[in-house]
Amino acid sequence: MAEYKGVLVCGELAEGKLASVTTELLGCGRKLADELKEGLYCLLASDRVGDASKEAIAFGADKVHTVEHPALKEYQADSYLQVAEKLAKDVSPRVILIGQTSMGRDLAPRLAFRLGTSVTTDCLNLSIDPATRLLVQTHPVYGGNAQAVFTSESMPQMVTVRAKTMSQLERNASRKGEVIPIKMDIDTSKVRTKIVETVKEEAVGIKLEDAPVIVSGGRGMGGPQPFQTILKELADLLHGAVGASRPPADNGWVPEHLHIGLTGKIVAPDIYIAVAISGASQHTAGCSGSKHIIAINKDPEANIFREAQFGVVGKYEEVLPAFTNKLKELLAA
């Protein structure tokens, strides 16, 4: 039987740089590896990896395996899988960490099935059981209404990790590590999908994930218009962005990329103002990392008041204009 050792992070690049989710995985992976007294490895695969490999070391990796190939410019499962499967077999890690991202959601289950193991997706918490040395994996279920703790004895133990739930280490450029470039042929005849076109839909202005303040509307907004007027006015005043829960996105009131929640974006702004959002667990899964949640809802029993620090019970049509006007006055003073 092969020996499984160490923790492997399947990294991602964003616009040529190490993605923030990868630095978070490295922070989490470092702790797990230290507990196991084993190494932390990172895979970076792209058309060009560049300095990101050194960054991965600065953020905690002991060894960074890099694969550069033109076929890896954009993520496609059939090309990435060839790389990830080979590396997973060569490195033979005990644990594989992947981000619960657009790529991770698509890659991790396929890789697990190919390696003949299991994966727990969207984990919020990971630890090592000192008695069994198994990875204890916590994954929210029932739309966030409960959490399940899994372990698996089939190796490697694979998980995907929700963004913004793990802390990265402080960047330390003097950390020592090794970059191992791997020459690999990718059989492009095995790639059964073709990206015909990539279309950016994101609105101009501040990105939802980076906004310090988010003003978010729910089903109770009643239609598309208030997102462009009353919510936007407040968001602009606070130099923030407008977001939404799932119903407005499903109903086409706002574009899908504004959807915050379990199956949308995960955000963690300083201030999250939830307007006419009931606070279903599917939604709070995407915003509960916010520093301060403020809720405006006409239903005093709405679940959002359990998450919020401050709240007003009332119709948003009455509460919000008065709130925005008073705030304008206070900010101008």
């Binding site: 727990t120 209404n145 620090q309 401050f310 206070l330």
Partner: protein
């Protein structure tokens, strides 16, 4: 060219039920009887994707559900909205599986169905939220898969899929047969017509047992799990919300602004 489609539909407790009714007792989710089972929300989108293709190029839709003790009126919704056949993998042995044992059984059933061009799945079930079964089926059948589809068109033995990415979408062409994993944006599942409901009432689902798909019970359901559920729990959350009041709701709104300013939040 008519398209042979399989749609995987799971029966789950209504995910829209208020959070307070979800209660974990002895490591099991227990729900009061007034919470009715439904077909999972993403599986409904998957059904709609298949129906749209049937509308435009024609074809046959076979719905497949795996579990035990299906509520016939709930699970037959697929027939009422326009699926041609419903196969139920229904047995105690199918209960409490993980993504691996579920995908393994579904893949075996789909092989038995034989003719398939597209297998539609929802992006994740509304109960365990794992998001793996569609990809598992693709791996087991050795066919490609496209995830997070919000639009699907079929022509010349290929599917053109709009795949949602964080800042927009990609148009992806995939050779058939393929698994297509559907997300919201495809459009809500159509209502069943009276005619559809009447037709569904006359149809009986086909029930397959483990022996019918040739899989040993040790690889099914709870016995076939690769990952072990150690614990199911609900983190205790204490509400600490400070409710700001006023003589009118507008006044409360203005007071909220003052309070947030005081607290130096804004």
């Amino acid at each position: 060219m008519p398209v042979n489609m399989v749609v995987c539909c799971k029966q789950v407790p209504d995910p829209e039920a208020p959070p307070a009714v979800f209660k974990v007792v002895n490591n099991k989710m227990t729900l009061p009887p007034e919470v009715k089972p439904v077909i999972g929300q993403y599986e409904e989108f998957a059904l709609e994707a298949a129906l749209k293709i049937k509308d435009t190029v024609g074809g046959k839709i076979t719905a497949v559900s795996l579990g035990n003790n299906f509520v016939r009126d709930v699970i037959k919704k697929s027939l009422a909205v326009g699926a041609d056949e419903l196969i139920l993998l229904e047995d105690k042995a199918f209960e409490d599986g993980d993504s691996w044992s579920t995908a393994n059984a579904l893949a075996a059933a789909i092989k038995k169905i034989g003719a398939y061009d597209i297998i539609f799945c929802g992006r994740q079930s509304s109960d365990w939220d794992a998001g793996q079964v569609g990809l598992g089926i693709a791996e087991m059948l050795g066919i490609p898969a496209v995830t997070l589809a919000r639009k699907v068109e079929v022509s010349n033995g290929k599917a053109k899929v709009e795949r949602v990415i964080p800042d927009g979408y990609q148009v992806i062409e995939v050779t058939l047969p393929a698994v297509i994993v559907v997300t919201s944006g495809i459009g809500a599942l159509r209502y069943a017509t009276l005619k559809g409901i009447m037709a569904a009432a006359k149809k009986q689902p086909v029930v397959w047992k483990p022996a019918d798909i040739g899989i040993d019970a040790s690889k099914l359901g709870a016995a076939g799990r690769r990952s072990k559920l150690d614990k199911l729990f609900q983190p205790v959350k204490e509400s600490k919300c400070e409710i700001i009041g006023g003589d009118t709701t507008a006044e409360a709104g203005a007071k909220l602004a003052v309070r947030l300013r005081e607290a130096k939040l804004l």
